[in-house]
């Protein structure tokens, strides 16, 4: 970091448009994990400000106050208390919603009392005229001892003024809003005398929160200033009351609301969307439209990508000099990359819809709606967020459980989230559905393939809920739970925010999964192209011998040799070894190889099949889908991917825990191998049994 770089922390209550402000300031210049939807961890972006100042913008998790009740909120406090942290802010931006200013200012006053230069960002200012709100900015600036940026992150106004304020952060008063001593003068006086060089409000936070502070151990301070838990709680309540008294006094003059102007569209819409019957009907219909659209809209771009990679593969084989490397490129690398890129359209559409639901404010209504149902199954309304986030990836979804305060609810959510259909399952579903479910329409508009996809998503969700119910009965962990959810205003989703989200998530999927798939494709190609023993090395002689009485045409002879080689290659022998275990499920040894290789990551399944069929398949069928559709079981003469084996495979992937990273993150979050081991055994065993039953019934 150069001397000119300043650290800017974005802090605020959930749903104040903090992430929109972050996007406005940083654009695509962000370093984010592959987290879907909501902010659960730190996100850093970079921003060029006036006067050649550069800023690292840190988007911190949403928090209601500095009285942390979850791990997420602790992140904010730990950063603000640790001046040695390389991301310790030079200036804090507290983002507030103009319609919820009173509640949002509680956090502002707390951060101000840490004596960090703080700018009050009043967001959603474009809604002021609809709500009849007027603000006396000079009055508020004077009494809150800060600078105010009135902005609309959605409309993009006020951002330039905000950037100018950030640059001039040194001119902002760091005077606190509340005199901390007024909470308990005697107690705080003793504190001040014992730690004369420390900021009083920081000491108070160290005492009341579960954080360490510089070289002072929390227990050391606490032992010197013994207060019972109930006394501390009482003082915290007193602090909150004092802060609200201060906020009320300031807003009495600084904020005016003319209710006659306000148009209450929100409450009318809320009544319908959270209705005990219509709420669920609407949610179901929205899901239905989403999954229909994912399949319908993705068809053309997917066919285009599939065709392009098939052409590239043929071109590479024809134009490059013959040899091992050319074969690796045309049969291993190109089909492997094609096997993942083909799913970009579906993944992008899925994230686009999720992002629109979150941006519009509808997702919070879903959380509220589902809370009643979730409780019956031992989950909390907050479990909906990880379960919905799980549609992208189980890893960030499991990490998103950190804001569930009750340990039992959190543990259950962690254990059942991998049942949710993640984006890595989507490629597997998409290719199998396209192969075994007819592209027919019911009633002229219901696409069968889209319906199947939706059913698989619901199946995953249903299984998660059912497992939660069982776990709730089995686990004997006690604890109280509270449910608070913010109902943000309805907003038209911003194209920019949705776009950034779609690009980030798709990019993370491609570059995260793509590297592994490419590496596995290379390894698989070698395993499929080399083999031990005579049967592999003398494949041509063996086929010639077999067909000497009935010679084959040249093309068929080459295919027969390729099949002979593949069957006796290293990968072929591995597949043959596990075939007895998977043949009752309707799978052959090639699918077995794909299942083994996709244990690390599910999405490798399609790439593996693409590589295997490229090495040993017919040249007439060039696309992955066509190659799989043309595959015949030599024993039965039936198609390998028929309705029974296809449904069996879909069910296997719906329930199996084919993801090494999920196991790792479950271990990390539960701090024990016991839970991920149980997760793996239960999910894999259940998947096997269900797939077996399905195939045996349908065959």
């Amino acid at each position: 970091m150069t001397n000119q770089n300043i650290n800017v922390a974005l802090i605020g209550n959930p749903n104040t448009g903090k992430t929109s402000v972050f996007n406005q300031l940083t654009g695509l210049n962000q370093q984010v994990g592959n987290y879907p939807g909501i902010t659960v961890e730190k996100k850093i972006g970079f921003c060029k400000l006036p006067n050649n100042v550069k800023a690292n913008i840190l988007d911190l998790p949403g928090t209601y106050s500095l009285n942390a009740s979850s791990i997420d909120e602790n992140v904010v406090i730990e950063l603000l208390l640790n001046k040695n942290d390389k991301l310790y802010p030079n200036v804090a931006l507290v983002v507030t919603d103009v319609e919820n200013l009173k509640r949002n200012l509680l956090l502002f006053t707390q951060i101000k009392d840490l004596e960090i230069p703080t700018i009050l960002v009043i967001n959603m200012a474009d809604r002021m005229k609809f709500k009849g709100i007027t603000l006396d900015i000079p009055y508020l600036e004077e009494h809150l001892k800060t600078k105010i940026a009135l902005i609309s992150s959605r409309k993009g106004f006020g951002i330039d003024e905000l950037k100018k304020l950030i640059v001039s952060y040194k001119t902002i008063s760091s005077e606190p809003c509340l005199n901390a001593s007024s909470i308990d003068p005697e107690y705080f006086d003793t504190l001040r005398k014992t730690f004369p060089n420390q900021l009083l409000y920081k000491l108070w936070l160290v005492i009341t929160q579960d954080v360490n502070f510089l070289n002072l151990d929390r227990n050391e301070i606490r032992s010197s200033f013994t207060k019972s838990h109930s006394d501390l709680k009482r003082l915290q309540q007193k602090e909150t009351i004092k802060r609200y008294q201060f906020i009320n006094d300031v807003l009495k003059e600084g904020l005016k609301i003319d209710t006659t102007i306000a148009k209450d569209f929100r409450s009318k819409l809320d009544r319908v969307l959270t209705h005990k019957v219509w709420g669920y009907v609407i949610f179901f219909l929205i899901l239905f439209v989403i999954f229909q659209s994912i399949f319908e809209w993705s068809k053309i771009p997917m066919d285009f990508i599939d065709g392009t990679f098939a052409t590239l593969s043929t071109l590479a084989a024809e134009e490059l000099p013959a040899g091992v490397l050319t074969n690796l490129i045309s049969q291993g690398i190109i089909p492997g990359i094609g096997g993942i890129l083909i799913f970009i359209p579906q993944i992008a559409f899925l994230f686009m819809f999720i992002s629109i639901l979150e941006e519009s404010g509808y997702m919070s209504r879903v959380v509220f709606l589902m809370d009643k149902i979730m409780r019956k199954f031992g989950l909390s309304g907050k479990s909906v967020v990880p379960l919905i986030s799980g549609t992208a990836c189980a890893i960030p979804a499991i990490m998103a459980t950190r804001n569930i305060e009750n340990w039992k609810e959190r543990l259950i959510t962690i254990l059942v989230t991998p049942f949710t259909t993640c984006s890595a399952r989507l490629p597997v579903y998409a290719i199998i559905i396209a192969l075994v479910i007819p592209d027919n329409r019911v009633f002229g508009f219901l696409n069968m393939q889209g319906m199947t996809l939706m059913l698989l998503y619901l199946l995953g969700f249903g299984m998660a809920i059912f497992s939660a119910y069982i776990l709730n009965k089995i686990l004997k962990i006690k604890g109280k739970t509270y449910f608070v959810v913010e109902m943000p205003n309805y907003k038209l989703p911003l194209f920019k925010n949705v776009g950034i989200n779609v690009i980030e998530k798709t990019k993370a999927f491609i570059f995260g999964a793509g590297k592994i798939i490419l590496a596995i494709s290379i390894v698989l190609w070698f395993l499929a192209s080399y083999g031990p023993g005579e049967k592999f090395n003398n494949a041509e002689t063996i086929v010639t011998e077999k067909t000497k009485n009935n010679p084959l045409p040249e093309a068929e002879f080459e295919n027969a040799v390729a099949s002979q080689k593949l069957e006796n290659s290293y990968i072929g022998l591995m597949g043959k070894a596990i075939e007895p275990a998977i043949s009752p499920l309707g799978y052959d040894w090639k699918i077995g190889i794909a299942i083994i290789s996709s244990f690390a990551a599910r999405e490798v399944f399609v790439g593996t099949l693409a590589t295997i069929y490229s090495v040993g398949g017919s040249d007439n069928e060039v696309t992955i889908k066509n190659k799989m559709a043309a595959e015949i079981n030599p024993v039965t003469g039936e198609k390998i991917f028929n309705f029974a084996s296809g449904i069996s495979l879909l069910l296997f992937y719906a329930f199996a825990l084919q993801c090494a990273s999920t196991l790792a993150v479950t271990k990390k979050e539960t701090n024990s191998w016991k839970w991920p081991a149980g997760q793996l055994i239960f999910m894999s065993g259940f998947a096997y049994v269900v797939a077996l039953i399905a195939y045996q019934i349908l065959k």
Partner: protein, 43 residues
Amino acid sequence: MDIQEIIAFIALGIALAFLIKKFFFKKRKSDKNCGSGDDCGCN
């Protein structure tokens, strides 16, 4: 062994090294830093 074969085997070595590093020698990240990079162990 011709040049094509040598390059292909180098590619195999790189692929194997990458996979081993990814799944067996994953760098532990602290809670604080997770999310600030573009790789949180997912996929």
